[in-house]
């Protein structure tokens, strides 16, 4: 049952740290999610334009365009504005978290305070799995 539900869901991980990206991918794949990985916003744009994405895990500090700018862009686009975005960043000041949520993020996760397993649980909850 779980395999059927999660297998239909595609998670886009926008993370420039390849090691952390791979650990996340590994954990999501254990739960049979489809995974797309982007190292920067340009790659992320190509992925969302080429096929349906159920949820985006978005880092803030990225090479080139930053995550918050990409989040604003998504929320202004009628085609993508309803895709849930979870910010996964190590910027953890109150005002940084408030800003992320104010720009339309569904949740804000400080990576240092969590684990890939907990992130998967949160994604499942948001997607109603």
């Amino acid at each position: 049952m779980e395999q059927n539900q999660t297998g239909e869901k595609t998670i886009l991980i926008v993370e420039d740290d390849t090691f952390m990206g791979s650990l996340l991918e590994r954990k999501f794949k254990q739960k049979n999610f489809q995974i797309l990985r982007a190292m920067n916003v340009d790659e992320a744009r190509k992925f969302i334009e080429s096929g349906p994405v159920s949820l985006i895990l978005l880092d803030i500090i990225l090479p080139g365009t930053d995550g918050i700018t990409f989040l604003k862009e998504l929320k202004l686009n009628p085609q993508f504005k309803d895709i849930p975005v979870i910010i996964t960043s190590n910027l953890g000041k109150e005002e940084e978290i408030e800003k992320g949520i104010a720009e339309g993020a569904t949740d804000y996760i400080v990576k240092a305070h969590t684990t890939p397993g907990e992130i998967v649980e949160k994604v499942e909850k948001i997607l109603g799995i």
Binding site: N90, E94, K111, T115
Partner: protein, 341 residues
């Protein structure tokens, strides 16, 4: 003051006028224009008037001199005052400039702390997640020794990340930038969440975690910032679990009386030395016996707890006996004077 300066006739002039008059009277007497008695009388009146006039003039001159001296002193004072005012304006500009520089430095410091924290957190997160992956049963079985090494590594990294977090929180509190959103709400979800977070570790240490709470329906809502209050309770429970030996006991209770909410975290741990109780809420302070049994710990937890309780208009007191245990008692008003801050 010189006579020339005030343009008044001198006594010498007066006496000269008097002599001229005397000569004129003597001449008129000699020429027979006036009788002798009248001349003497006239001369006498003239002398008396001249003397009175001289005295009057002298007094007037003294008065004028005094007035001139006063005026000059006032002018000097005005000049000094102007000078001081100019210096004050200059100093004020210097202070404003220094304040602006301090504000710039404050922003720079805040940015530095944020960037440094981010740069430290990123590699530490990588290590933490690696240990988590190693300990994940789906990765594959570990030997008991490998498991222990990975668990110790994970604990060390988690402590370091907690330290960074505590430092950031303290920096935030001290900069006055930690926002408190004190709202009327039930306190039950706050402490339930905090207590539940310690169930597992208490079970692992075979510590009895007893919670004594009144009936939720009859308990009034309280003015709190839920997130900050949870942080405070979590810190107290974390200490209790950390410093209570295996098989010990922790009691958490909450009650309400006369507009005050009282929360007590009591443990059967190592206690606090009597001579160190007064330093307990100081920054970076850790009691001697605490460092002896637990290497981890930043000495910032209780400092933060106190700041949080202070901002709620409450109080925190400690009752402890070394070797027997410690009780922290938090009292906060149901209705906070600091609501909305």
């Amino acid at each position: 003051m010189d006579q020339e300066k005030n343009n008044l006739p001198s006594q010498k002039h007066i006496w000269l006028i008097q002599i001229v008059f005397a000569v004129a009277v003597a001449a008129m007497l000699f020429l027979g224009y006036i009788p002798t008695v009248s001349a003497v009388l006239l001369f006498f009146v003239l002398v008396v008037n001249s003397a009175a006039f001289a005295l009057l003039l002298s007094g007037f001159r003294k008065g004028l001199n005094f007035y001139n001296t006063e005026t000059e002193q006032k002018s000097k004072k005005i000049e000094e005052f102007d000078q001081i005012t100019r210096q004050l304006v200059k100093r004020e500009l210097e202070v404003a400039h220094a304040n602006q520089r301090l504000a710039e430095l404050d922003v720079a410091k805040s940015d530095f702390v944020s960037v440094a924290a981010h740069q430290l957190r990123t590699p530490l997160t990588g290590i933490k997640w690696s240990y988590t992956a190693l300990l994940d049963p789906e990765t594959g079985p570990l030997t008991a020794e490998q498991k222990e090494i990975a668990e110790n590594g994970l604990a060390s990294i988690s402590n370091t990340l907690d330290l960074i977090n505590d430092l950031l929180n303290v920096a935030h509190i001290e900069e006055g930038k930690m926002k408190f959103e004190i709202k009327r709400q039930s306190i039950f979800p706050v402490f339930k969440k905090a207590v539940e977070g310690f169930r597992l570790i208490a079970d692992e240490k075979k510590i009895t975690l007893a919670v004594k709470i009144p009936d939720e329906s009859g308990f009034p809502d309280v003015d709190i910032d839920a997130e900050k209050m949870e942080l405070a309770i979590t810190n107290l429970l974390d200490n209790a679990v950390k410093y209570t030996p295996n098989g010990g006991r922790i009691d958490f209770s909450i009650s309400q009386e006369q507009g005050l909410v009282r929360m007590v975290v009591q443990d059967s741990g190592i206690g606090i030395p009597k001579d160190q109780k007064n330093r307990l809420f100081s920054k970076f302070f850790r009691a001697d016996n605490a460092t002896a049994v637990q290497t981890s710990g930043t000495g910032l937890g209780l400092y933060m707890v106190k700041k949080i309780i202070d901002r709620h208009g409450g109080k925190i007191v400690v009752d402890s006996t070394e070797g027997k245990g410690t009780a922290f008692v938090i009292t906060i008003p149901e209705i906070s004077a600091k609501k909305g801050e």
